[in-house]
Amino acid sequence: MARIRKVEISNFRCIKQLTWLPDSGVNCLIGPGDTGKSTILDAIDLCLGARRSLQLTDADFYRLDVENPISITLTIGDLDDALKNIDSYGLYLRGFDPATGTVEDEPEKDHEVVLTLSLTVEGDLEPEWCLVSDRARTQNSARGLVWSDRVRLSPTRIGALAQANLGWRRGSVLNRLTDEKADATAALTKAARDARAAFGDDADSQLSSTLTMVQDTAKDLGVAVGTRVRAMLDTHSVSFSGGTISLHTDEGVPLEGLGTGSTRLLIAGLQRKAAATASIVLADELEYGLEPHRIMRFLDSLGAKETQPPLQVFMTTHSPVALRELSGDQLLIVREVAGEHQIMRLGSESDVQSAVRLYPEAFLSRTVLVCEGASEIGFVRGIDQWAYANGYGSIAASGVALVDCGGGDADKPYTRALAFQRLGYRVGVLRDDDKKPSAEIERQFKDCGGAVFHWTNARALEDELFLNLPISAVGRLIDYAEQQHGDQQVDSQLRSESSNRVNLASVRHDLEMDALSLETRAFIAKASRKRRAGWFKSITWMEEIAREIVGDALESSSGELRNIVFDAFGWMHNA
């Protein structure tokens, strides 16, 4: 039932330095790609796995700098009796203070007894596993874990190629379920001999001329090969090694033929059963090969929902489904800050917890743009699609996620934005200007490096569009509104919102004339955003007009519209 209490990594692949106190249950690492999530799993695997050698290259050193040795140090608690044995490990037993996360060199009352295991690799690429304590160092004594203890501590890795676990191979989870052992040696040896006998001298006739040549050459050179060279089945070719016994269906089909997802799911389930003896699991890309409903089963079988976690799981994911299924305490963001890797727990505060449920995707990005409502979301998406179609990069490629605040209170986007900001995300807010947020919260957000984009002069998005777009674009927006909502509704909203100063026909006339007064533009804007009857008030509609109409018209629009949009996109791309 071992648990990793502390992880320290230096100079390993993309990680220069990392110190982390993992949880004893599920630790799901998230964050944008290439931040080192898998490197952390690899580090644990290399340090704790039962290996006698490692194939490492210069590329495994941080920035290829082989002068600085790779060092992976794991402090392990919840040790069983064998690992706390004073005769085997007395000099290496240490004390871990769970309150502060510090490791004392000697055990102490009320501290947990732990062992610290380290893997170091110098420039010669020779891995060295050893137990660590200051006492041992002063006494110049160095030793590692006993092999059998390493095998017991060895984590199970549920990787992309998890099939290895479906046979009784070394390190397979099957070996950890029970102590039962199948011994096929005798049967296999017999089979090998039988095969040799059955094959017999068949080869002699098939290879007779070659044999004659060998025979003659040997004779000429005086090499003793007996009276006749024979071709027989090589004993080595019929020798069998471990892993020859594996799981099959009742029809004899190997279970290795199962799909990736099924295999991983089955192994997770077996691992749960083997928790008493093998308690640490590593799962890369946990969603790999799994449909959403099976992701949930997978997490359940690893004990993600249990209050007493049966396994300590280290996993990575890019799946919003997985995020939604896990609690904020099980989710950890991996980041590099000023050359050091940091791992930050999302935590269980309610605003974070609800953000995870609502916008799991946002937690998988680098940059988050918190949008006031559906219109802003649709607008940004539409402009992004237009830009992409016109040869610019997409914000998705820059790792940007959009978060919808669903309108309402003007401070709401900031509460949400601050939650992301605290977790180290690069956060921006895109809001209307008709209802202003409290100055205090906006200043706080900006002081922490937040970016704010808003329309001008107390305007909403529609105001900014209708007041600044060229006439042709305004006309197309009205065409779009007519198509979506029918001319009657457009007409009646124009009439009512302008107190009968304009109507659909008068607007059409003005458009024909290319003479749209600012007043009329303002009436159209007001009509377009009538509460509960907005012409573009849905993500789809706004997305569509932004893509089809606004994008092309931005260059020739007046006022601040163009600048605001360009600023926001520039910020999003310049992560």
Binding site: D87, G90, L93, P107
Partner: protein
């Protein structure tokens, strides 16, 4: 086999009183043999010799070494502290035992601290199934504290016999059996079958010794004339005591390969040595500190003018009939070249030593002296250790004769003592050794406990020299 009613493995915390020869070691061996858990049982005793003896007994009884960890209490304390020095509050210097007189008490104190503050409870629980402490009557107060604190974590049973507690002296106060041992480790049973004597076919003798033990405990007088036939009383009369004692020393063992232990005066090793030198075939049992050897080595200078004198007088202190003055005079004559008689082997060896002054020539000299006609080594343990020390030293820094002698002494501590056919010692030296015949040279020199230890050394015969047949040893 011993009382099946006492199951050491079932005792959570307790004491088993074990009179001499009543199967205590067998009881421990049986418990260890039945112990099937993976975690070993920690077995502690007092002296390194005790460890060696117990290990040999357990080996003979076929106990797998996997089932137990055996150490002295001090050795175990030292080990704990070398693993966790900071928690015990001990310095590296103290762990080196450079000043054993102060370092051992400091180590015991530190071990008490380490255990008392519960720093390693979890580790002890993980490492040992339970604790057995043997020879508990010899436990000093700090050692009793160590066992008692370990017993908070481990099921513990202690075994011993208050009547064999003879190691208490100034500065080494023993835990009181009734008031301290049995209150902390409640009495779980007392062995009462005299196995050693039953096996030797002298059950009545064995029963009498158990009876004797009770009398001694209560301070009641003992009349040796009431004892069974195996007990021989030799009356001392004040005029020819020495003759009578020397005759007692020559008591025959009941069989050809039998052995005799002769118990002399504890406080006077020289008198024990004298008896050994005057009794054919007798040798001394030496204290583990090998003081005479270490003293010789301490300020021995191979190049000093009196080096030869020292070697020869050392030889005379471990061998009979060395004729030291004659030998020294002859060497002088030979050196001046005024001899009329040719040099003997011994004398030639002495000349070589004087010429070369090396450890090697010193060994040769000692060996040659031993080979001389009429010479008998009566302190072989000291001579053997001396020769061993000389052979392994080279005079270099860290490997002088003295360094080597100290090493030989430390090795000697760890070795079990082979029992000679006829050995002279004291109760302190002979405790734990068993023979066919025990000879007490003067009962009046022994208090109740020492007399009990002495009386129980022989399984076939006990010879007691005393003025009166009625004894009332001090309790």
């Amino acid at each position: 086999m011993p009382e099946p009613s006492i199951d050491l493995l079932a005792i959570e915390r307790g004491t088993v009183t074990a009179p001499a020869g009543c199967g205590k070691t067998q009881l421990i061996a049986d418990a260890l043999k039945r112990h099937a858990e993976i975690k070993p049982i920690l077995v502690l005793t007092h002296t390194n010799a005790g460890v060696a003896a117990l290990r040999a007994r357990l080996d003979r009884a076929g106990v797998s070494p996997k089932t137990y960890r055996l150490s002295t209490i001090d050795g175990w304390a030292l080990r704990l502290l070398s693993l966790f020095p900071v928690r015990g509050g001990i310095t590296q210097e103290q762990l080196q035992l450079t000043n054993p007189k102060t370092d051992y008490p400091a180590i015991r104190k530190a071990a008490v601290r380490l255990l008392r503050d519960s720093h390693i409870d979890d580790i002890l629980k993980s490492s040992y199934a339970r604790l057995i402490v043997d020879e508990y009557q010899d436990c000093s107060l700090p050692q009793h504290a160590i066992a008692g604190l370990a017993a908070r974590t481990l099921p513990t049973v202690v075994l011993g016999d208050p009547m064999q507690a003879i190691f208490g002296w100034q500065g080494n106060e023993l835990a009181d059996w009734e008031k301290q041992v049995c209150t902390y480790f409640p009495l779980a049973g007392e062995l009462n079958v005299p196995w050693r004597w039953r096996n030797a076919g002298t059950e009545a003798f064995g029963q009498w010794l158990l009876h004797l033990r009770r009398l001694l405990m209560s301070g009641t007088a003992i009349d040796l004339r009431d004892a069974p036939g195996e007990v021989v009383w030799i009356q001392l009369n004040g005029t020819e005591d020495r003759t009578l004692q020397l005759r007692a020393c020559q008591t025959k063992a009941p069989s050809a390969d039998g052995n005799v232990l002769i118990i002399g005066k504890s406080t006077s090793p020289p008198s024990q040595q004298e008896f050994a030198s005057q009794t054919p075939g007798a040798v001394t049992v030496e204290a583990v500190d090998l003081k005479d050897l270490v003293n010789l080595a301490k300020d021995f200078d191979f190049h000093a003018a009196d080096a030869l004198d020292k070697v020869v007088s050392f030889a005379a202190s471990v061998m009979t009939n060395v004729g030291a003055p004659d030998l020294l005079r002859r060497v002088g004559v030979l050196q001046r070249g005024t001899e009329r008689r040719e040099a003997s082997e011994v004398e030639r060896a002495a000349l070589r030593f004087v010429a070369e002054r090396s450890p090697r020539t010193m060994v040769d000299l000692l060996v040659e002296i031993g080979k001389d006609a009429g010479v008998r080594t009566y302190r072989p343990a000291v001579l053997r250790a001396c020769i061993k020390a000389l052979q392994s030293c080279d005079g270099g820094t860290g490997n002088t004769f003295y360094d080597s002698a100290v090493r030989a002494r430390e090795q000697n501590r760890l070795l079990g003592r082979p029992l000679p056919r006829r050995a002279v010692g004291s109760t302190l030296l002979l405790k734990g050794l068993e023979a066919d015949v025990a000879v007490v040279l003067d009962a009046s020199e022994l208090d109740a406990r020492n007399f009990y230890v002495a009386a129980t050394r022989g399984s076939r015969q006990l010879v007691v020299c005393s003025r009166q047949s009625i004894l009332t040893p001090r309790i």
